[in-house]
Amino acid sequence: MTMKHKELTLAAALAVALVATTVAVPGLVDARPAYAVPVHEGGEDASFASPGSEDWDAAPAATLHLASAESGLPNASSTSVEQVDLQAVTTDDRLYLKLSWADATRDTSTADVRQFADAVAVQFPVNESARPPIAMGGASNRVNVWFWRADGTDQELLAGGPGTTTPLDSTLGNASRYENGTWEVVLSRDRSAGGANRTEIPEAQDLDVAVAVWNGSNGERSGVKAASSWHYLALGGGPQGPPYELLLWAVAGAAIVVTTLVTVEGVRRTRGET
């Protein structure tokens, strides 16, 4: 009886410790929420226009998981890119985004009927007050799209739902490189909107962002794309560090190990008694 009482006390203590760790650790070690994309403040002397610039090393990356976007188009569910790393840097007057993703085929030409080029796009709400529908926004809640295609073209687009993208005069800067099966693309724009229907990059407020990637040689174009859910650029400050999610998984992992050990020990003792 005493033995059992002791074990129960031990188990209860362990449980309490786990709950306490789960609650306390993320706060102590400075983690960021799963959908946050950290924003690095670029120094005056740093250069971010080129994806190869070493200054990008200082900017933490968020990994955005992608899934085939829903559309009625043929082969819409057979997209090939599964994730994209997104880094964000702000300077006083500009927002730089670097997108990196693995794609075994470098498709840069649209010169033949059967050729489609690789592409990437970043989507923001035009008006940050409400989050637009993920699929190209909605008629009353539109989105801005920064679009880059591997034939070197970029476009700023306005959209209010699938099939409605309309080009604005592009003020984007773009640069790209393809190395070891990976695309790295930098897109940048002035933070000030400079016109109607353009997203203002706020000073101290988070900004929703979503990403889509197309693999040209897989016939991906239009709504046939690998897209993320809404994330946000953590422009409003808040915790940076590693993703909150990662810490929770670490705690859960530790809990599983401890539980297994306790069980094994329990079984061992029970056998020893009989």
Partner: protein, 357 residues
């Protein structure tokens, strides 16, 4: 699906289905018995619309020998169109550039300026091109056979290219049902190229947009030569004048009479269910001959081949035409044969009939 009540004027004939929201439907009848395969229509179209600028490989109008592979090569095997009940689109393929055919380089320089004795020929390995299998046909001597099939966009009543576009860049014009690609909306996705079972939408790799036959709409709007209303140039420039142009819903016009009243003009591949508005008078050929050159009581062009192309309706059309020919032989009147043999342009081309509306 279209229905008569959806569009058209109050006097739309009961047996004509117009697409939803369309006032009238422009249409064309081509008499395959008159086509000599001269490609004048092809060149008329090319010089008007598809010279250069990424359009070199495009033939909005082409003439292909049948039986044959056509242009682009084996286009009938590339899918597109609708399922049998017309409710769902069928998946389609994008043709390869070799299936359209490349623009070949010739040895003009050597022959004309350098005194070469070589024959004029393409410099690089030419293995396929539009009209490559010209006059090849099928069958064995003395019963070989072929005929020519001119093709343009069918400006369909139920167009799968329009439906395929995720951006609604393709549309049917309200006033006459011409199918157009809005070049400002198009983003070169090419779902229309895949979706058209006749492969009559083309991708322009210079403009990065898709393009197609526009039924020479500036000409039918009176913006053509001399500021007059003119039929499409493929029709007007045809040496044997095998095309009739007008509106399907004009009961007094040649199209309605041939298609609806007498049912002698039929659609190419009606099973694609796009409801084309280009119709064909099916080809007659001399009967088969014996080794000694005697005529036999057997059709030269196999009837099942014509059924493959034009559906079962081709049988009744051929029977009717035969009856009408016999009438003329007996010295009787035949409206069908009058329409098919008229040399009066006003009867061939009736395009101003709805202008007062």
């Amino acid at each position: 699906m279209s229905s008569q009540s959806d569009g058209g004027g109050s006097d739309t004939p009961e047996d004509v289905d117009l697409a939803e929201g369309i006032d009238h439907q422009v249409a064309m009848v081509m008499d395959l018995n008159k086509c000599i395969g001269c490609q004048t229509c092809t060149i008329a179209c090319k010089t008007n619309w598809t010279e250069g600028g990424g359009r070199d490989y495009m033939y909005w109008n082409n003439v292909e020998t049948r039986p044959g592979s056509g242009y682009p090569k084996d286009w009938e095997e590339m899918g597109g169109g609708w399922t049998d009940d017309g409710s769902e689109r069928q998946p389609g393929q994008l043709p390869d550039k070799e299936e359209y055919g490349r623009a070949w380089e010739f040895n003009h320089e050597e022959i004309f300026y350098e005194g070469s004795d070589e024959p004029l020929r393409p410099m690089d390995g030419a293995e396929w091109g539009p009209n490559w299998d010209e006059d090849q046909g099928a069958g064995e001597y003395p019963n070989s056979y072929y005929f020519y099939l001119p093709r343009i966009c069918n400006h369909c009543t139920h167009p799968s290219c329009v439906e395929a576009c995720p951006r609604s860049a393709l549309y049917k014009r309200e006033e006459d049902g011409i199918v157009l690609v809005d070049q400002d909306r198009c983003r070169g996705y090419r779902y229309c190229v895949e979706g058209c079972p006749y492969k009559k939408v083309y991708y322009n790799s210079v403009t990065k947009n898709s393009e197609k036959c526009i039924f020479c709409y500036p000409r039918i709007e009176g913006e053509g030569p001399e500021g007059e209303v003119r039929a499409p140039s493929c029709a007007e420039d045809c040496p044997p004048q095998l095309r009739l142009v007008g509106f399907l819903d004009d009961e007094d016009g040649p199209i309605y009479k041939l298609v609806k009243e007498h049912e002698v003009a039929v659609r190419l591949h009606p099973e694609y269910r796009t409801e084309p508005n280009v119709y064909y008078i099916p080809p007659f050929a001399p009967p088969q001959h014996s080794e000694r050159g005697e005529s036999l009581d057997s059709e030269r062009i196999p009837r099942n081949y014509l059924e493959e192309l034009f559906g079962p309706e081709v049988n009744e059309a051929l029977n009717t035409i035969e009856r009408e020919r016999d009438k003329v032989e007996r010295g009787e009147e035949s409206e069908v044969m009058d329409l098919l043999t008229t040399e009066n342009p006003a009867k061939q081309y009736r395009l101003e009939v709805f202008d007062e509306e």
